[in-house]
Assembly symmetry: C2
Homo-oligomer: 281 residues x 2
């Protein structure tokens, strides 16, 4: 595995790989890797000739009151995990090269960025689409891999790639969960062991929702009320949102029908965690 710091060098490598007709799989991350990231890498390794992972904690996607500076970072551990799982090139650019002083371009997806995490984190998705557009132009992948945990992000990037005619396949892979059901997230590192156990309630609420639907419930309001009740049993958990939305516009659905996303965002000790399930009825 090669560690690449320079944008120009990464572009030169990608261009050379394409000239050799190698397919490039790309896993963009903010580092502090967990099994979720590793599952994306292994999928890329199976599907593509070469796998590039980027690690970049993108300042543009953090709000001023958010956890940009304290976001967990451990490049040595990440590099070892990346190598072990089959990454060929680990791209770790610098802020100064990604956003020099003269930087002034933004990529923005409208509509589906306004709800859910977009409502709670203004500007977040503009930061995500901007950095991902840059990374796509640098790495020039054939396929890019994202986790379903950040389902809104995956749908926003899919929309961006489609709208801007990017010749890149966006692939969304299932959530990887810890034993007990907590969705893997770099931000879980912020939590004590007891809090980790407590926030399992989020996945329990999602599975309860699925249970209700399996038993015939179709009214979103009833399902959301049940989820809220469950979450309220854990004092440390503060709900940011619980929504039942359609996967196209991410707009609330009153009745469960077709493909439906049930998503939740919570705060625990000021740490924001998200999770979701996709239901087909």
């Amino acid at each position: 595995m090669k560690l690449i710091r320079s944008i120009t060098r990464m572009q030169r490598i990608s261009r050379a790989l394409k000239a050799e007709k190698k397919t490039i799989g790309f896993v963009p991350t903010m580092g502090y890797l967990h099994e979720g990231h590793c599952s994306l890498v292994r999928k890329s390794v199976r599907e593509c000739d070469v796998t590039v992972m980027s690690i970049y904690v993108n300042p543009l996607q953090f709000g001023p009151a958010e956890d940009f500076t304290k976001y967990p970072r451990d490049l040595n551990r990440d590099a070892a995990l990346a190598k072990k799982n089959g990454v060929d090139y680990l791209f770790v650019p610098d802020d100064s090269e990604m956003y020099p002083a003269s930087y002034r371009t933004r990529v923005e997806v409208d509509g589906i960025t306004r709800t859910m995490c977009g409502a709670s984190r203004p500007g977040h998705f503009q930061g995500v689409t901007t950095v991902v557009a840059k990374l796509f132009n640098i790495v020039m992948p054939d396929s890019a891999y994202f986790g379903q945990k950040d389902i809104q992000q995956a749908l926003v990037i899919t929309a961006m790639a489609r709208d801007l005619n990017l010749p890149i396949k966006i692939k969304v892979l299932p959530i990887v969960r810890e034993p007990g059901g907590l969705a893997m997230s770099s931000r879980n590192a912020y939590l004590s062991e007891s809090r980790r156990r407590e926030v399992r309630i989020v996945y329990r609420a999602l599975t309860a929702a699925r249970g209700l639907i399996r038993r015939g419930e179709r009214r979103s309001a009833v399902i959301i009320a049940k989820m809220k009740k469950l979450l309220s049993t854990i004092k440390s958990v503060k709900i940011d949102y619980i929504v039942i939305v359609d996967p196209c516009g991410l707009l609330p659905k009153k009745k469960i029908a077709g493909t439906t996303i049930i998503a939740a965002a919570i705060f625990v000790d000021n740490v924001r965690l998200i999770d979701n399930i996709v239901i087909k009825v």
Copy 2:
């Protein structure tokens, strides 16, 4: 020369050309070609293995009160001119494929899009950067050619390409002028013969400015006053702006020093025309 209508087909062709290691030169236009466009094509033909021209009157870059519907169009004449000058692929996409109903992504460059034409035409440059980003992803050129007549557009696209790490060289070629000095523009077609003669005053004002600077004048206010006085001699001409700006931020310069852009936009019979010169002292 091949006429290509489908985005997918154009992408397939570009991908195949790149696999054969051919360099692609790209001349994006809104059609109604004139010698300015043709000079870009000939430069591309000299520099690249294959030249792609696009003709697309981009609705996104026109304001609601602007001339989108009446913008001059003549595909047969354009195709003949493109072929004659050496275009290999003429890409003419449809609105419905460029902006389907679900379309919701914008690319925006901040700062330099706020002055000059950006101030007069709100949203214009967002439309330009969005469509050019799309066209770049479809055509995948090595070099793209723009005319200096639209100098702000050329600088905005250069900023976008640099900021988004697009692996594309942006080349800006000199203004081609009609005898008498009028900068060639598709919009000149809106003008009667007598109006065409009258609007030569714009270039005369620019050359008068250059004359003043050559004779030692350095005060922008004095130069702009002289230009305004000259333009006021033609009743049909209404000034939109006359500016003396630096080429980085496109912000007004009080004194002429280093590289300086002198640019003018006028209305004549509700037709908006622009022109500029670049001065080095």
